[in-house]
């Protein structure tokens, strides 16, 4: 196993009866990185997270957090791990600070005064200072999420597993969340996060993993993932001053070009080829006397990728990165 990775997963498999929830997943998450895990419902994200969080025993596989084997030394692993489940619950009969104090003590944060100070820091981190004395049952969904995030931050974990952390949060809270996670990553924590709000993941994550039907289809930067999943084809949007239909016909005849559509002065097409080829297209248009005002590559978004994954439009036999 690589020694620099904060999360090391090898051949992880989780079964529920005959259903394979996670199938032989191997993955490394380096320290200081925020990795997003995407996939449609039932892809195996939550099962993977629950195993990483030591809440579930897999069928087989090895998992190390900061070099600690979580099955052999679970208590040690838990001391460096922060896990936030999807729809994180809170106890209704405790006040916010009491809830945090319980877990600060359970993680050995320090004596009462040290715990108090740390609780204030974490409440400030999630902008929830004014709710310190409020009973957990009186908090809104977003405030509850923030409180659980504060609990997750209490012991400054080296590894954070966050399952849909932003659900129920307003835009301001989401921004606070992003900033808080970025700060933690900058301090060396490895953060593994799943979200259905994919644009949010794009803003937050340094790289991405895509899962479907229990298999890890791809991992790496957005570009790498797109390449691995067969999304080399990209959309080009070209604007010409006149003769748009003529230009469209010329483009249609070029190698690697498909699905050309012209609407007024705007031409949209799919291109599968190298960047040199793409430059040659532009040069060809100009050489052909077409007055090009814009030549733009429109990248496929995370949503496009996820929809393709969910609809089975990607080549799942490709090995993961």
């Amino acid at each position: 196993m690589s020694s620099s990775a904060a999360i090391e997963i090898r051949d992880l498999r989780v079964d529920y009866g005959n259903f394979v929830a996670v199938s032989d997943v191997t993955l490394d998450v380096p320290a200081g990185e925020i990795i997003g895990l995407v996939g449609p419902n039932g892809a195996g994200k939550t099962s993977t997270f629950r195993v990483l969080a030591t809440l579930q025993e897999p069928t087989y596989g090895e998992v190390r957090l900061a070099g600690i084997d979580i099955f052999e030394r679970p208590q040690e692993a838990r001391s460096i791990l922060g896990y936030m489940p999807d729809l994180a619950p809170v106890p209704s009969d405790l006040k916010a600070w009491e809830f945090l104090d319980q877990y600060a003590a359970a993680h050995g944060v320090g004596d009462a005064s040290r715990r108090r100070a740390r609780i204030e820091e974490c409440l400030a981190e999630v902008s929830l200072e004014e709710k310190r004395e409020a009973f957990c049952r009186t908090l809104s969904r977003g405030q509850t999420q923030r409180l659980v995030l504060a609990k997750t931050l209490l012991h400054s974990p080296k590894v954070m597993i966050l399952d849909e952390p932003a659900s129920g949060m307003d835009p301001l809270s989401r921004r606070s969340l992003r900033l808080a996670l970025r700060r933690l990553a900058d301090q060396g924590a490895a953060i593994f996060v799943s979200s259905h709000i994919l644009s949010e993941l794009a803003e937050m994550c340094s790289s991405l993993c895509v899962m479907n039907r229990g298999r890890l289809l791809a991992s790496g930067s957005v570009e790498e993932v797109r390449r691995i999943l067969g999304r080399a084809e990209r959309t080009l949007v070209i604007s010409v001053l006149e003769r748009a239909n003529e230009a469209a016909a010329w483009l249609q005849a070029q190698a690697g070009v498909s699905r050309v559509e012209a609407l007024a002065s705007r031409i949209t097409l799919q291109y599968e080829g190298s960047h040199d080829g793409q430059a040659a297209l532009l040069a060809g248009l100009v050489a052909g006397g077409f007055r090009v005002t814009a030549f733009e590559e429109k990248k496929s978004t995370f949503e496009d990728i996820l929809i393709d994954v969910a609809e089975g439009n990607v080549n799942e036999s490709k090995p993961s990165a």
Binding site: D15, N18, E57, T59, Y60, Y83, P89, A105, A106, G108
Partner: protein, 553 residues
């Protein structure tokens, strides 16, 4: 410093975060004062009424009057701590699992034992305080009533160990049962049966079960707790046995009670620790279940055997001794053979029940088995390790059946070759018959559970054991003509097999002509049950092959 190094150790209960969490939530002044107020009003009313009333209206001396309220107050404390406390633990555990906050506790680096202790003393913390609030009244009665330490000391210790045992029962119920209401009902039901059903069973030869309750120590101390005027009546009706004979060794009763309870406490703690380590694991490991089975039989035999020759084991002796003061029965007493054989049958039935409970606990689900096979394949093991949860429980069920048959045989032999029954002989094939009864039931039930997972095999087996007996009893009591069909019907139940076995081995027991059919019924149904057990085992073997194939995927 590694944060996990500064987490509180299990023994520092006052620093336990879970304990402190419940101190905060369950001891908020508003609710605490309300409950303490109610407790003090009820306790104070009992104390002053019995103390003053006993002295002024009852003509008791002041020292006697001081004692009058002690037992009622102890009962009130027991109701609060054993009843409310156990229910609180069960529902509290289920509530945490239901809300999802139990997972947070799993994620903390506290040791599993710290977590168990935190819940054990944290969830019922209010009930502990309510119980303690009555202590001044009780201590007043003890000190002013001149009750000696040898009476209340052991009583308080066993009171504490019983509370821990029942609260652990609630925790296990709350961990296993998913629904809060059911968890409460199950835990209260278990505690209730520990106080009502189990002590009754102990009157029929299964003596050790009474030591799971506070009753032996309580009855022992009772003459010293009540006013002097009541002592005479108590001495005549209570069995004062301050010592327990265990295979001829004498133990103080309180110590023996604590040791018996400690074994069950240890078993419950083991169950909880296993669940804290892995939420999907069996409550008990296979070897632990086998050890527990052997331990219970050791206790049963150790308590019962020394009481045979003295006659204390026989229920009619106890009954006659109790009513002797009313001169209803002549003092001469001798146990009947029917009584002894009934005890032998009950011993077999309890063995069968224990076998069924432990087999249910250690039998793997299909999912668990397939996962275990896949894990073994991945680790390049030739097979799933024998003691793993995913392994088949068949060998352990069979081992328990053999152990149970041996214990049953030892009990039967000691009872029927005692000086009470000089004429009685025991057929040489008795141990084989006992083995057949238990092995047939164990193998058949194990194969059913392991082959066809889920609650339906369990419910089916329970119904097949209970319904024929119930219908048979109704038919048999309805008319003499229906007695034979009733016996045939009841005989199909594996639960009735121990009694039918006794009727077959000792036909003197069945003098009535209609009962002469019992041996024929017994052997016929045993043959059928044996065929069913073999059939289920063959089917199970086929299912094992399918599971091995599924594990290759």
């Amino acid at each position: 410093m590694n944060p996990s190094e500064s987490v509180p150790p299990p023994w520092k209960i006052w620093e336990n975060p879970i304990f402190r969490r419940y101190c905060r939530s369950r001891l908020r002044p508003k609710h605490l004062f309300l409950w303490l107020g109610i407790t003090l009003i009820v306790g104070g009313f009992m104390f002053f009424l019995l103390r003053t009333g006993g002295n002024v209206r009852g003509g008791l001396s002041m020292a006697d009057a001081e004692r009058a309220a002690v037992i009622p107050l102890l009962i009130l404390q027991a109701l609060i701590l054993f009843g409310l406390g156990t229910g609180q633990v069960a529902t509290g555990m289920t509530a945490e699992a239901d809300e999802g906050t139990l997972d947070y506790q799993r994620l903390t680096p506290l040791s599993p034992l710290t977590k168990v202790l935190g819940y054990l003393f944290g969830l019922p913390v209010r009930e502990w305080l309510m119980t303690l609030s009555l202590l001044p009244f009780v201590m007043w009665g003890i000190v002013r009533g001149d009750i000696p330490l040898k009476a209340w000391g052991p009583l308080f210790i066993v009171f504490f160990s019983s509370a821990v045992l029942y609260h652990l029962t609630g925790m296990v119920a709350g961990t296993v049962v998913k629904n809060r209401r059911w968890a409460f009902l199950v835990s209260i039901g278990v505690v209730f049966s520990l106080y009502t059903v189990v002590p009754q069973v102990s009157r029929f030869g299964l003596v050790c079960f009474k030591y799971l309750t506070i009753q032996p120590v309580f009855f022992d101390a009772m003459p010293l707790l009540v006013p002097a005027a009541a002592k005479g009546a108590l001495k005549a009706s209570q069995a004062f046995e301050p010592e327990v004979l265990f295979f001829g060794i004498r133990f103080p009763e309180a110590l023996f009670t604590i040791c018996t309870q400690a074994a069950l406490i240890l078993t419950f703690v083991t169950m909880l620790l296993r669940r804290w380590r892995n939420a999907e694991s069996h409550l008990l490991g296979k070897f632990w279940a086998l050890g527990l089975f052997a331990w219970v039989h050791l206790l049963l035999l150790g308590n019962a055997l020394p009481m045979i020759e003295t006659g204390q084991l026989f229920p009619t002796r106890e009954f006659r001794r109790r009513v002797r003061d009313s001169v209803l029965v002549a003092p001469e007493w001798k146990p009947t053979l029917a009584e002894a054989l009934g005890m032998v049958g009950l011993f077999g039935l309890v063995t069968l029940l224990l076998l069924a409970i432990l087999t249910t606990i250690i039998t793997a689900s299909e999912d668990g088995q397939v996962r275990g096979l896949r894990r073994a394949r991945k680790l390049k093991l030739p097979r799933v390790p024998l003691a793993a949860d995913a392994a088949s429980s068949v060998w352990f069920a069979a081992a328990m059946a053999v152990l149970g048959a041996a214990s049953w045989w030892i009990f039967t032999r000691a009872l029927l070759t005692s000086s009470w029954f000089p004429e009685q002989t025991i057929p040489t094939y008795t141990p084989l018959t006992f083995g057949l009864v238990l092995l047939t039931a164990a193998i058949g039930y194990q194969a059913l559970l392991e082959g066809w997972n889920g609650k339906w095999p369990f419910i089916g087996a329970m119904l097949a054991s209970i319904l024929p007996v119930l219908v048979g009893v109704i038919l048999g009591t309805g008319s003499d003509a229906m007695l034979k069909p009733a016996i045939w019907l009841a005989g199909v139940s594996p639960a009735a097999a121990p009694f039918f076995a006794i009727g077959t081995l000792f036909p003197d027991f069945m003098r009535q002509r209609e009962f002469s059919v019992v041996p024929q019924v017994f052997w016929t149904w045993q043959a059928v049950l044996a065929v069913v057990a073999v059939f289920l085992s063959v089917k199970l073997a086929a299912r094992h092959r399918q599971r091995r194939a599924a594990a290759q995927l």
